[in-house]
């Protein structure tokens, strides 16, 4: 494909046709791979070639325009190259405009960041095209700030749109920012609200990063919006998009001069550094020169061995602890602190005494607020609660589950109740657990995918990991020694933990509506039920629990929040793993068949990637179950 230069009036349209046909048949990559570098070189400084190139693309018939434009955008190495090749095609041709401003940005989301950079850079480079870029930014912001889009579109699409917004922002110039400042502000406020409402941490972070960037752009002086979130690769990448490197190459002669200047400047610094240490030496008086005869030597010191770090004694009896914690005397904060720190071990050492006052203690701990600034107050309180619950499970579980559905608790307190129930259930059901935990801090939810394999052992491990990651708890030292087995203490109390939680979920209270706004707590509740189900393996109540859980899941299966759906799918996994296979097939056959068809539907159509994976796992678990039962009967 080489062209004959020189002012011949060639008919380009034939070439355009060929190009279009080739592209539409899917051979974009090959032809662009050859064409684009050629044209890049030719059009670098030659205006005639530029015009030829523009004619080339303009003449492509409309039905093939999309393929050609797509090919160019993906093939061009940089935005300015794209600008040279396509010229003002997007302004002149309606189809090209549609492809560039609508299709590639809003309807597709598979393109790489580099492609986005090219596209948006191309739009920003010419004054005729800038209005298009501003229009694009507005539409992107509208999508970003629409709550239904945030709830229903997949995470990858939301990431793509966020990237596009950030790149547009980086291209904006001052006067343009001025003119659309108000709109930027309104969209930012709406958008950040929808994003923070979401139960998925990734979406929340996306919202925060984009909102911060918008705020940075519109408030160049004065305070900017700043969120607290953990930085990770994704956020760093997003933030780097805000900074634009100039699209044009710096003329090569400069770097040499710069370098020599820098080395020259570096030299004088070095000798300065050597001088500094001398002046900074502290004035150390020469003790030997203190030759005066001191009568200090006559002063004999007394015995100071008792002088140790001051420790405030904590109370030794549980009832004393209760007194201190409920006492209104604000002066004795030292004692209060010592009590909070010592409470867990006291409870574990005195189970009989704890059982007498267990519900009262549970009540006090649930309402305990931080009086002074102790390190790790939240964990201390949680550990004490878990200790009380494990020591006297039935009454305390009754109390806690009833409080979960009561008025006037904060969301945080309700979620704490759920965490405590899970931790205590774990302690009661696991024979290795001795009540000693090591502090580890919260683990971030992580989804681990092992390469697809059929054995149910792998799935069990995956589910285990998932369950571990969803619980906010401390890392237990995994003891490799097989310890003596103990009776499963969870057996007698599993029902007390489980059924009250599942009972009232559909009854809204004035301050607490699980099926309405408080879907975050609903999500946590569902995950908690999944864990309790999993821990109830080998207990007597497991079948009844399984049936109740299946009904619960069935009622909620179309919930709009993806975190809740993930929880429901975990419930199914736990169910399949815990309830003995025979019981499942005997008591729950019909429900299971219905569940299977629902799972198939989720696997194909659910917008959330994690939900789809979980549904697939569940289907595989069911398959394995069937196979196992087919093998057994002899």
């Amino acid at each position: 494909v080489s062209f004959i230069p020189g002012g011949l009036d060639c008919s380009i349209s034939f070439v355009s046709h060929v190009l279009g046909k080739v592209c539409v048949h899917g051979r974009q990559k090959e032809i662009m791979g050859v064409l684009v570098p050629h044209l890049t070189d030719l059009t670098k400084s030659d205006c005639i070639w530029q015009r030829i190139c523009w004619r080339l693309v303009e003449c492509v018939p409309d039905r093939w325009m999309e393929a050609v434009v797509l090919g160019f955008v993906q093939g061009a190495p940089r935005a300015d190259v794209l600008s040279r090749l396509l010229g003002n095609l997007v302004v002149k041709n309606k189809k090209a405009q549609f492809v560039v401003t609508q299709k590639m940005l809003l309807l597709q989301y598979g393109h790489t960041t580099a492609v986005l950079q090219n596209l948006l850079g191309y739009l920003s480079l010419d004054s005729l095209r800038r209005p298009l870029m501003l229009g694009v930014l507005q539409e992107l912001l509208e999508t970003w700030s629409s709550s239904s889009a945030v709830k229903h579109s997949p995470a990858e699409q939301q990431l793509y749109i966020s990237k596009a917004i950030l790149i547009c922002l980086s291209h904006l110039k001052e006067p343009e920012i001025e003119s659309c400042r108000q709109e930027l502000l309104t969209s930012m406020m709406e958008g950040v609200k929808c994003h923070l409402d979401s139960s998925l941490p990734q979406l929340r972070r996306l919202g925060m990063v984009v909102a911060e960037s918008i705020s940075l752009k519109i408030n160049t002086e004065g305070p900017v919006l700043k969120f607290e979130y953990e930085e990770d690769d994704e956020t760093r990448e997003l933030k780097s998009l805000l900074v634009q490197t100039p699209p044009f190459c710096v003329i090569p002669s400069f770097p040499d001069d710069d370098r020599s200047e820098k080395t020259g400047a570096a030299l004088p610094l070095v000798p300065e550094n050597h001088e500094k240490p001398h002046t900074a030496a502290p004035v150390m008086p020469d003790e030997e020169l203190d030759a005066e005869l001191d009568s200090d030597d006559d002063l004999t010191p007394y015995d100071m061995s008792e002088d140790k770090v001051l420790k405030i004694k904590a109370p030794v009896y549980i009832r004393d602890c209760i007194e201190v914690l409920t006492g209104s005397r604000s002066e004795d904060v030292d004692k209060w602190e010592a009590t909070v720190k010592a409470l867990e071990s006291l409870v574990r050492k005195n189970p009989a005494a704890t059982r007498e006052v267990s519900v009262e203690l549970a009540k006090i701990l649930l309402h305990l607020e931080e009086k002074t600034c102790i390190e790790g107050f939240v964990e201390l309180r949680q550990r004490a609660q878990v200790a009380v619950l494990s020591t006297d499970p039935i009454p305390v579980a009754k109390y806690l589950t009833s409080q979960f559905y009561s008025l006037n608790y904060s969301l945080r307190q309700r979620m704490d109740i759920l965490d405590v129930l899970v931790l205590a259930a774990q302690e009661l059901s696991c024979p290795k657990f001795h009540g000693k935990t090591e502090h580890s801090g919260a683990q971030k939810p992580c989804i681990q995918l092992l390469p697809g394999s059929d054995s149910s052992k792998d799935w069990r491990r995956i589910v285990d990991e998932r369950i571990k990651s969803k619980t906010r708890r401390f890392d237990m030292g995994q003891s490799h020694v097989e310890l003596a087995s103990r009776p499963n203490e969870f057996n007698s109390v599993a029902g007390h933990f489980f059924f009250p939680l599942i009972q009232h979920y559909d009854r809204p209270l004035t301050t607490f509506d699980l099926l309405g706004e408080d879907h975050l707590v609903l999500g946590r509740l569902v995950h908690t039920l999944a864990i309790l189900m999993y821990l109830a393996v080998n207990t007597v109540a497991v079948t009844a629990m399984g049936k109740a859980l299946l009904e619960f899941v069935w009622a909620l299966r179309f919930h709009t929040d993806s975190y809740v759906r993930q929880g429901l799918l975990s419930c199914i996994s736990s169910l399949l793993l815990s309830v003995p296979a025979e019981r499942i097939l005997a008591d729950m056959t019909e429900e299971l068949l219905e569940t299977q068809s629902w799972l198939g539907d989720v696997m194909e159509r659910d917008p959330d990637g994690d939900c789809r994976r979980l549904a697939l796992q569940n289907l595989l678990l069911m398959e394995n179950l069937k196979k196992k039962l087919e093998v057994v009967p002899s």
């Binding site: 009568s295 200090d296 002063l299 010191p301 007394y302 015995d303 100071m304 002088d307 140790k308 001051l310």
Partner: protein, 328 residues
């Protein structure tokens, strides 16, 4: 074998409130009763007779607001007290009278104790924290005229003055002020020119208390952290850190050097009084009697060295009086 630390010689009870300030007045000749003045949180100043070990008067002059500084002005007949009612009161206690002769309205809402220095017969200079956040005002007493106001420069960010010490090397030299501030630095002020001569950052936390030995040009400061800082003043009037000493428990409320410059005492938040040798800051004793924070320590001014005492006032409402290292 080191001896166990001594017990207090006696303990004064009866203030019914935490004790914040102590001052001895025992220098008078024989027929004079040795006295100890104490300021309490309930606003009373008790005058203790050290022979009978009972309080023979309770002065009420600060409207039941805590009294955090008491000092005598040349003898037991005149007393100065500073309270949280933002006033400094001057009392006439001669011949059994108990009246407030004068008062200064400082408008200071903090806890900075004022510092007195006798510059001539019947004339004193008093340094006190003033109303404005970072300022220290020097007044002449009894005329109450303002001598100068020491204000740090803009952007110095020293915070409130926490403790003050006015001193002069001898009767003829210029009085100088040492001030410890909230940001942990100790500043040496030239009063006539109202300028900072030297500033030294001694602590990371506010300076709670300081004391200075004019003869050796060495001072010590304590803060809410675990470190005691000893600094010296060289000929160019510059402060330099000489030494630091780490304590077992954090928090010092008060430091005082005995008049013979041999030992010093610190009052700790860990309920203990510590005694150190001043020359090299050798730890000498830890006196553990009180059951709550010790707020103040004070050495007596007995003319007979063997009778010298140390008093400590604490939040547990008791004043412990010790006889320690009195033999040297």
């Amino acid at each position: 074998m080191a001896l166990p630390p001594p017990d207090p010689q006696f303990v004064l009870r009866g203030t019914s409130a935490a004790v914040h300030a102590l001052h001895f007045s025992c220098g008078g000749p024989e027929p004079d009763i040795p006295l100890l003045f104490s300021g309490s949180e309930n606003g009373f100043i008790h005058v203790w007779n050290l022979k009978t070990r009972r309080a023979h008067t309770a002065l009420d002059g600060h409207g039941r607001k805590s009294v955090y500084c008491v000092q005598t002005m040349g003898g037991k007949g005149r007393l100065l007290s500073q309270g949280r009612d933002q006033r400094i009161c001057l009392w006439d206690l001669a011949e059994g009278r108990t009246s407030v002769t004068d008062s200064v309205f400082t408008e200071h809402v903090g806890f900075c104790r004022c510092s007195l220095l006798k510059v001539a017969q019947g004339r004193w200079l008093m340094a006190m924290a003033a109303r404005s956040l970072e300022e220290v005002q020097i007044l002449e007493l009894p005329s109450k005229t303002s001598v100068c106001t020491l204000k740090p420069e803009m952007g110095a960010k020293l915070g409130m003055p926490m403790c003050l010490k006015l001193w002069q090397l001898n009767c003829d030299s210029q009085p100088v002020l040492l001030a410890g501030y909230e940001d942990g630095s100790v500043v040496l002020w030239n009063m006539s020119m109202r300028k900072v001569l030297s500033q030294l950052i001694c602590h990371q936390e506010p300076v709670m208390s300081l004391d200075f030995d004019a003869e050796k040009a060495k001072g010590i400061s304590g803060s809410s952290e675990k470190v005691l800082s000893i600094w010296s003043l060289n000929e160019q009037q510059n402060l330099q850190v000489y030494k630091t000493h780490e304590l077992v428990n954090a928090g010092i409320s008060d430091i005082t050097i005995r008049a013979d410059k041999k030992i010093l005492a610190t009052a700790g938040w860990d309920h203990r009084i510590r005694i150190f040798g001043w020359k090299k800051l050798k730890p000498l004793a830890v006196l553990d009697y009180h059951t709550a924070t010790v707020h103040c320590v004070s050495f007596s001014d007995h003319s007979n060295p063997r009778e010298r005492l140390l008093a400590a006032g604490s939040k547990d409402q008791r004043i412990s009086v010790w006889s320690i290292y009195a033999q040297t």
